[in-house]
Subunit: 498 residues, 2 copies
């Protein structure tokens, strides 16, 4: 990819000490994204190397959706204000923070149009038209699109932008069991995607009542823990019960010719996944990518002198071809105008998981020196059977990244049973603090007001055995809420968030 402007210098900030500035630098210098124009705070430009990551996730997830009964569709970008207001039947005090289109050409519109913040209210009326009998169920639609939410908070590329790319799935079912199975299957697919593509473990749970998707019966969530101790809501899957079915009259004729209301779900994963990816694995040298999403999994850097250039390049070319034929995404960096040291730095900045160095020694011994991006581990591998060795090293790199993230998660779930202990533990260590909780928002506020941590998840009270991915969050013992004298109803996972 040719758009490598702006990276003459490497990353200058420290991930540990200046996390925010470091993140912004990695995003820009690795060529992932640029900030929008001055007049458009909150918007970003997704550059080819950033978009390629999104395409990798999208392609994999889309495939998984399609093999599990989902059809893609496309609904309009705009939603009439009256449609959004219809959600008031579902949600009291619904007040969307959206971008409003008021004029088309020179004309003022009779009714304002919202740029979609999510599409339940325009998709539901069509599902209501299309579903007639139980034979049409389950109906599963998904769209890949961008949505706009007019939040005034500071921009953080991929984590927090006024416009973002995502997919939104919308399904209708004959009964509660089918809708629940759908909700959990999608959550499971998200958790698997994080594990297998992004080398990140996810905690699975539910959002507390006051933080559910408006109108949802249950909002299930996966949460990922960043190295700085903050939690990221990595994807959500909503069991909507019959509230949308009733508000939008989504009904079907059952096998006994009776009329029943559909149970619906919706579920989404956004490019925030890329933010979590970058934040989790990258370091002070720049981006670190797991092999499954890396546009280039291997870069070969030939090291030549004036007299052996042709010979070494030809050897490197053979290695590259062998890898390419085995399906490895490989780049041979044969630029004359850059020296090997420059190339090492540049490909480290760009996050390529495995570097193969090929110089006179390697040529003579018919080997290559393989260097792992995450930790610099360096190993000599034979040219013969190189594709197998490389695939093996790529697997090792995935494991290294996953293990580090997994250890971070395991070590940073702590328990507490008083306000002081919750505050102290999060203040000192970050991470998750599990505490018995009455379920009342007022008790969450006692923490939130002090350190901006919140309840990011509670245990899912549905059996999830058949959906084994991710780690179910566990119940703590304790009958009394850690924050008041009421009985504990559940376990709250408190954390700071992105």
């Amino acid at each position: 990819m040719s758009d490598d402007g702006g990276q003459e210098l490497g990353v200058t900030k420290s991930k540990e000490y200046e996390t925010g500035e470091w993140y912004a630098e990695v995003v820009q210098k690795a060529g992932l994204a640029s900030y929008g124009p001055d007049r458009m705070g909150g918007f970003i430009i997704t550059r080819p190397r950033g978009y390629a990551l999104w395409e990798a996730l999208k392609s994999e997830l889309d495939e998984r959706f399609k093999t599990t009964g989902v059809d893609n569709a496309y609904f309009p970008l705009f939603i009439p204000e009256s449609f959004l207001e219809r959600e008031k039947d579902v949600v009291e005090g619904f007040n969307p923070e959206v971008a409003w289109v008021t004029h088309g050409g020179e004309e003022e519109l009779e009714e304002r149009l919202a740029v979609r913040p999510t599409s339940e209210s325009i998709i539901a009326p069509y599902i209501a038209q299309w579903v007639r009998s139980y034979r049409d169920l389950p109906m599963r639609l998904n769209q890949w699109c961008s949505v706009v939410r007019w939040e005034a908070t500071e921009t953080k590329p991929f984590f927090r932008t006024k416009e973002f790319l995502w997919q939104e799935g919308h399904t209708a079912h004959a009964d509660d069991a089918s809708a629940w199975a759908e909700t959990l299957m999608r959550l499971d697919q998200y958790a698997n995607l994080y594990e297998e593509m992004l080398a990140m473990p996810a905690l699975r749970g539910a959002k507390p009542e006051h933080d559910k998707f408006p109108g949802a019966d249950t909002t299930t969530t996966i949460e990922t823990l960043m190295p700085d101790g903050k939690s990221v809501q990595a994807a959500t899957s909503h069991h909507l019960g019959t509230s949308f079915g009733e508000a939008f009259e989504i009904t079907y004729t059952d096998e006994n010719e009776g009329e029943s209301v559909c149970h619906t779900t919706s579920w989404g994963l956004s490019w925030r996944a890329l933010g979590a990816l970058i934040m989790t694995h990258s370091d002070d040298q720049g981006l670190v990518l797991p092999p499954a999403v890396a546009p280039e999994q291997v870069v070969i850097v030939p090291i030549w002198h004036a007299d052996d250039r042709e010979e070494i390049l030809s050897y490197a070319d053979d290695l590259a071809e062998g890898l390419r034929n085995a399906g490895v995404r490989v780049e041979l960096d044969d630029r004359d105008e850059r020296n090997p040291g420059f190339k090492f730095n540049e490909w480290e900045l760009k996050g390529v998981p495995l570097r193969l160095e090929v110089g006179p020694n390697e040529l003579e011994s018919e080997t290559a020196t393989a260097v792992h991006r995450p930790d610099g581990e360096s190993v000599s591998i034979d040219a013969e059977g190189i594709a197998t060795s490389v695939e093996n090293h790529l697997d090792q790199i995935h494991e290294k990244l996953y293990d580090a993230a997994s250890t971070n998660l395991t070590e940073n779930v702590r328990e507490a049973d008083s306000r002081g202990e919750i505050l102290g533990t999060i203040g000192q260590h970050g991470g998750y603090v599990a505490a018995p909780w009455c379920g009342d928002e007022a008790c969450e506020t006692k923490i939130k007001d002090e350190i901006a941590a919140e309840v990011v998840a509670v245990p899912l009270d549905t059996p999830v055995d058949e959906y084994a991915s991710g780690r179910a969050i566990h119940e703590v013992t304790g009958d009394i809420c850690a924050l008041c004298d009421d009985a504990a109803e559940t376990t709250a996972y408190f954390a700071r968030t992105y």
Copy 2:
């Protein structure tokens, strides 16, 4: 796909006599699209069967772009009004018919944001930032997105909608020759896509001066002829010269350390391609799809009686598996609640290219009866080696469709050299009428005012030998404009349009 509501009845209108109503019926009854809500005239809902066609085109074209140096990216949905106005440097009297966002949440915005009608004005400033030296060139970016154009004309799904899906490519080059080669390569890819995926020949040419993309040096176009004699602008590729380079200061340092302005191009193909596809091949039984884009290339309809159901289903299943293993997209319609006649009609309506009927006779003789969707041709084929036969039949079906469209095009290019003859010929036959033309818009008006035909293309005056796809439109002889006494500068292809 389960969304087959609304097709209990087949198509009732005649393609020949009620083309518009017929088209609307096919689109809806084949489950391709629905009209938007009442308050959103001009918008459509793209249903799974329609979206699958777009995905097939997108996937193929995206692959072709990627193997020819294009990187995907994503730019914001909104463009500040002042950015659009900057195009006034390029185009006098630029007055965009766009949707305007004036409010974000409760706040009125300081500057209105246009929902992108096309993205030159927001992409160009970034290309200007990213291009530094000749080494960065050519830079080729593409995005798949939706755009909005606030036209007040009547909606025709896929042909004319206020929001539509498309791709827009934007490239920067060191010199004119490189930009020209790019412009023609993309036009060629579009023409190939029409031929190979949609079984439609395309005429290649240029738009007349007054109908170019604003600011373009040359707008090249491919035009396809519909059976009703109207032309469709099937895709365009713009050679923008240095006008955008100058307006947006896209410059680079050349090999001699001098500063030069980039030559740029842009090119796009929209879901109008689906409109042209539906209009060209379909008939009074419904949709007809070329095998390359059909979600199901083959449907197997088993014909059983009470006593041989299991045996026939098992035989049909084996055939389906054989085809599936050979990479054929096949559907086995084993529904118990529908009889074979109903199934035939339904799959004809949905446009499946090849039907395999499997009943007691076929079981006994180890054959299947293959029926071509376009013309009903019926042939017995052996179960042994069925994948090869089926692939052969699918090729034949593609050829049949292509040949019919090609014959229509060949037979409907006529010449004329006076106003009366142009009007008479288009009035009687439709199609294209080639006439010597001075190049003046006023002369086009003499036709347009009378029969709503216009100059859809003129010959490209650049050698296009190396881009052989599509048919170059030819020059007619004649030194004097058919519509005034001035000298003829070129050949105008007049046609009615969609």
